[in-house]
Amino acid sequence: MTGFAAAAGALSVEAVGVSMRFGDVVALDDVSVRVEAGTMHALLGENGAGKSTFVKCLMGFHRMTAGQIVVGSREVDVRDPRAAHAHGLGMVYQHFTLVPSLSGAENMVISRERVPTVIDWQAERAALARFVDTMPFTAPLDVPVQRLAAGERQKLEILKQLYLGRRFLILDEPTSVLTPGEADELLGTLRDLTRSGRLTVLMITHKLREVSAFAHVVSVLRQGRHVGTGRVADLDHGSMAAMMIGEKTVRAGTERGNAVGSVGLRVQDLRTPDRTGRKEIVIDSLSVRSGEIVGIAGISGNGQTELMEVLTGQRRPQSGGIRIDGRSYVPSRAAVHATGVRCLPEEPLRNACASRMSLAENLAFRTFDRTVDGRRRFWLDRPALRSRARDLAARFRIHAASVEHPMASLSGGNVQRAVLARELTGTIRVLIVANPCFGLDFAAVAEVRSRILTVRNSGAAVLLISEDLDEILELADRILVMSEGRIVHETARACADAAVIGRHMAGRP
C-alpha cells in the first residue's frame, strides 16, 4: 500500500521552456505551461500540434531536448515513466490499459510498483475497500473488466491512478470512447476531485464543449508552440478555435441546398450476425433520398461496422439486401461502375488502400480496368494512370514526395485526401461514408465535410455512419441512432436534440 500512503493532495506542475526535437523535426519549441494545484487544465490543439509529445515529455516517455519540469516547488529530473510515477505523476490513455479478464481489484493490485510474490488477496481486498470508502466515486471492483461499460472502465482507470498515489493526472482524450452522458459524469467526477484538492488534472482534448463545461484553465498548442493560456470563463468557443488553428484558411461552410429527390439507397429486412456471432444486426428499413445526408449515430461496436461491411461488399448478409434506385444491388465490379455507388470506409489506409502500392496505383483502383468511355480494358495505360494521379494530387492537394511513393509514406490527412480524390470524382449516385474524419486535423476535417456536402448538393444520396455526434449534427439532414444492432431512434435535423440522441446511443431512451 505504499502508493496510497504517499497520496497527500494535488500537485502543481510547471514545464519551463520545454523543447523536443526528433532529428530535424522540431516537435516542441520552448513550451512553458504552468498547471496550478487542484485545477482542471485542458490542453487544446490540432493533430500534430505537439500535445502528445508534450505530455510524453512530462511523463518521461521522451527525454526532452531542452527545458525543465518543476513539480510542486522542486525541479525534478523525469528520466523515465518510473521517475514520473515516483513524483506522483500519472497518465490515463485513450485506449484502456486494464487487463480485460481480471477484475478491477486484481487490476489495481497488480499495477502497483512492488507486488509481493504471494498476494494475500483477503488483506488486499480489505485495504482496497477502505481506500474506495475514502473516494467520492466508485467503480465495480469484483467483475472482470471486460464486462464493464466503457464509462465504468475509464472510472476504474482513474480510481487505479488514485490508488497508486498519483496526484497529478494526465488524460489523453478520455471521453473519445464514451457516450455524452458517460463523458459528462466522468469529467464531473474529475472536476470534483480537483475541487476537493486531491488531484490536479491535465486533459488533452479536441472537444471545445468539454473544455468550457468542465475545465478551469485552457492552454493551446499550435505547431509545437504554446500560443496561449487563459481562464475558461474568459474565453468563448470562437476564440479558442481561433487560437488552435491560427491564420490557416478553413474552407468556408458549403451552402446547403434543399432539393430532396427519389430514394437512392434502400436497405431492407437486413439480417446478419455481428462479428462475435452472438448478436444479430437487424435493419428493417433504411432509405436515403438523393440530395440528403442520413447520419447514423452510435457508439462504436453497436453494429455500424457490420452494416458498413454489408454495404461495401465485405460481408454477405444472412438475408435481406440493398436496393439502389429501386433495383437490387450486389456490390460487384460491374454494379459499382454502373450504379455510381461510392464508399469511403473508415480507417482508409486499412480499408481502402494498399499501403505498399504507390499513390498513383492507389488512385487508379476504381478506373484501371475501364477505358474513358467505360468499356473494359485488358492492358493498363500506365502513362495515363500516372498523369491522372498527378492531376488528382494537385486538385485535391495531396502532399506526397511523388505519386510513385508508396501509400504508407503519406500522412493520415493525405491518405484520406487520396481516397476522396479517387471516390469523389465522376458522377456519384450514392455515397456511403464511415467515420471520415477520424484522426484528421481541424483543417482537413473541414475540407472532408465540405466535400461530402458538395456531393449531397449535387444530388447524391449520402449515408454517413459516424461515432462523432458533432459530425452527424453538422452534416446530416436526418439522424438515426443505432444501438445493439438496431435503429432505435430517428429525428429530422430541425428537431434534433443532442441529449435525446445521447440517451438513445447509450441504450437508455
Binding site: D24, R333, A334, A335, A352, D369, L380
Partner: protein, 366 residues
C-alpha cells in the same frame, strides 16, 4: 513539415528520380545482403568443420559457372526451378504463401507420362502440346483447389499446400507403381518410355533442353500479366489489401482461384518438361525437391517475376556443384542443403529489415 511541403511542391519533378532509386534500393540491398550473409554463415560453418570456405566457393564457381559445359549443366537445372518458383511467387502477389509446388510438379509429370502412354500414335508436336495441357491441368487443379478452399473456407493455404504435396507424391508413387506401371520398368517403376516424337530436344546451338526457354518465357509473361494488365493490377490490389479489393467490387474469389490455377499449371508444366526432356518417363525421380528450392527462389526474388531468373540460375548452380564438392572435398551431398537452409533463414531474417534502413530513404517524408 516544411521539407514535406517543399517535396509536395516538387511533386512532378522528383517522379521516377532519385526517390525512386532510393525506394527500390531497399528491395535490392536487403535480399542481396541476406544472400551474402547466408554465404558467410555457411563459410563459418565450413571453417568450423575444418574445411576451406575459399576452396568450397571456388569449386562451386568452377562447377556451376566456370565453363560452357558447367553453364549448360546449371541451366538445365534452372528450367524446372523457374517454373517451381513461379508457383510460389504468383500466389504470393495475392497475399498467399503457397509452398506446395512439389505436388503440382510430380502430378504434372505423371499426367504428361500417362497422356503419352494413352495416345502414343499422335504426331510429335500434338503429343507434346497434349502432354503440356495434361500436366497444366493436373497441376492447376491441384493448386487451384487449395486456392478455392482458402477462399471459401478460410483454410490456411500454407499448411494445406505443404500437406497436399505429400499426398501428391504418394499418389504419384501409387500411379507409377500400380495402374500406369510399364511392365518393362523393373527396379524403377515408371510409366512407359516416351516415343521419340514426344521427347523435347535441346535448344538449337545450345546443349540445354527447351525447358529453359519455357521457364524464361513464363517468367516474362507472368511479369507482363502482373505489371501491365488490368487482371494483374486487380490481383495486386487483392494482395495489397483484400478489404480494399472487396470495397472496389473486385472478384476476389475468381482472382485468388484463377491465379492459384495458373501457378499450379506452371508447376505442372515443370513436371512435364522433366518427363519429356530429362527422364523420358514419369517416375519417382520427379520428386527431386525442385518445388522446395522454388520456395527459396521466390522469397529471394521477393516474388518479383523477373528477379526469379537470376536467382534460379544461382541456386541451380549450387545444385550443379553439389556432386563435385562431394567428390573433391569429401563432404556429404546434404552440404548444399545446409547452404540452402542457411541462405533461407538469412532471407527470412532480412524480411524484418524492410522499412528500417532509414539511410536509404529520402531526406524527408510527408
Amino acid at each position: 513539415m516544411t521539407a514535406a511541403a517543399m517535396h509536395g511542391a516538387a511533386l512532378s519533378v522528383l517522379d521516377g528520380g532519385l526517390a525512386a532509386v532510393r525506394r527500390r534500393g531497399e528491395a535490392v540491398i536487403i535480399p542481396v545482403g541476406a544472400l551474402v550473409a547466408g554465404l558467410l554463415a555457411f563459410a563459418i560453418f565450413l571453417a568450423f568443420i575444418g574445411r576451406s570456405p575459399v576452396e568450397f566457393y571456388g569449386l562451386v564457381y568452377k562447377a556451376a559457372f566456370g565453363s560452357a559445359f558447367s553453364w549448360e549443366n546449371t541451366l538445365a537445372r534452372t528450367a524446372p526451378l523457374l517454373l517451381a518458383a513461379l508457383c510460389t511467387a504468383l500466389p504470393a502477389r495475392l497475399g498467399m504463401i503457397m509452398i506446395g509446388g512439389e505436388g503440382a510438379i510430380v502430378l504434372g509429370g505423371v499426367a504428361a507420362g500417362v497422356f503419352a502412354m494413352s495416345w502414343p500414335a499422335l504426331p510429335g508436336a500434338l503429343g507434346i502440346a497434349g502432354m503440356a495441357a495434361a500436366a497444366a491441368l493436373a497441376g492447376g487443379i491441384w493448386i487451384g483447389a487449395i486456392g478455392l478452399v482458402r477462399h471459401v473456407r478460410g483454410v490456411n493455404e500454407t499448411i494445406a499446400s505443404l500437406l497436399m504435396a505429400y499426398v501428391a507424391v504418394a499418389l504419384m508413387n501409387h500411379l507409377v507403381e500400380g495402374p500406369f506401371r510399364d511392365a518393362g520398368s523393373l527396379n524403377k517403376p515408371s510409366t512407359a518410355p516416351l516415343a521419340d516424337g514426344f521427347r523435347t530436344g535441346t535448344i538449337p546451338g545450345f546443349d540445354v533442353h527447351w525447358g529453359l526457354a519455357i521457364g524464361i518465357a513464363a517468367c516474362v509473361l507472368c511479369w507482363i500479366l502482373l505489371e501491365r494488365t488490368s487482371w494483374g493490377f486487380a490481383a495486386r490490389i487483392v494482395g495489397g489489401n483484400v478489404r480494399a479489393a472487396h470495397v472496389q467490387g473486385l472478384p476476389v474469389g475468381r482472382l485468388v482461384v484463377g491465379f492459384s490455377v495458373l501457378a499450379g499449371s506452371l508447376a505442372g508444366i515443370a513436371g512435364m518438361v522433366e518427363v519429356a526432356a530429362v527422364h523420358g518417363a514419369a517416375n519417382a525421380s520427379l520428386a527431386a525437391g525442385y518445388g522446395y528450392t522454388g520456395i527459396l527462389i521466390a522469397f529471394l526474388a521477393r516474388h518479383h517475376m523477373l528477379a526469379i531468373i537470376p536467382v534460379a540460375t544461382l541456386l541451380a548452380g549450387f545444385d550443379a556443384a553439389s556432386g563435385l564438392v562431394q567428390r573433391r572435398m569429401d563432404l556429404p551431398d546434404a552440404t548444399v542443403l545446409v547452404l540452402q537452409g542457411m541462405v533461407f533463414v538469412s532471407i527470412l531474417a532480412g524480411e524484418a529489415l524492410h522499412g528500417r534502413l532509414t539511410w536509404l530513404r529520402g531526406p524527408a517524408r510527408s
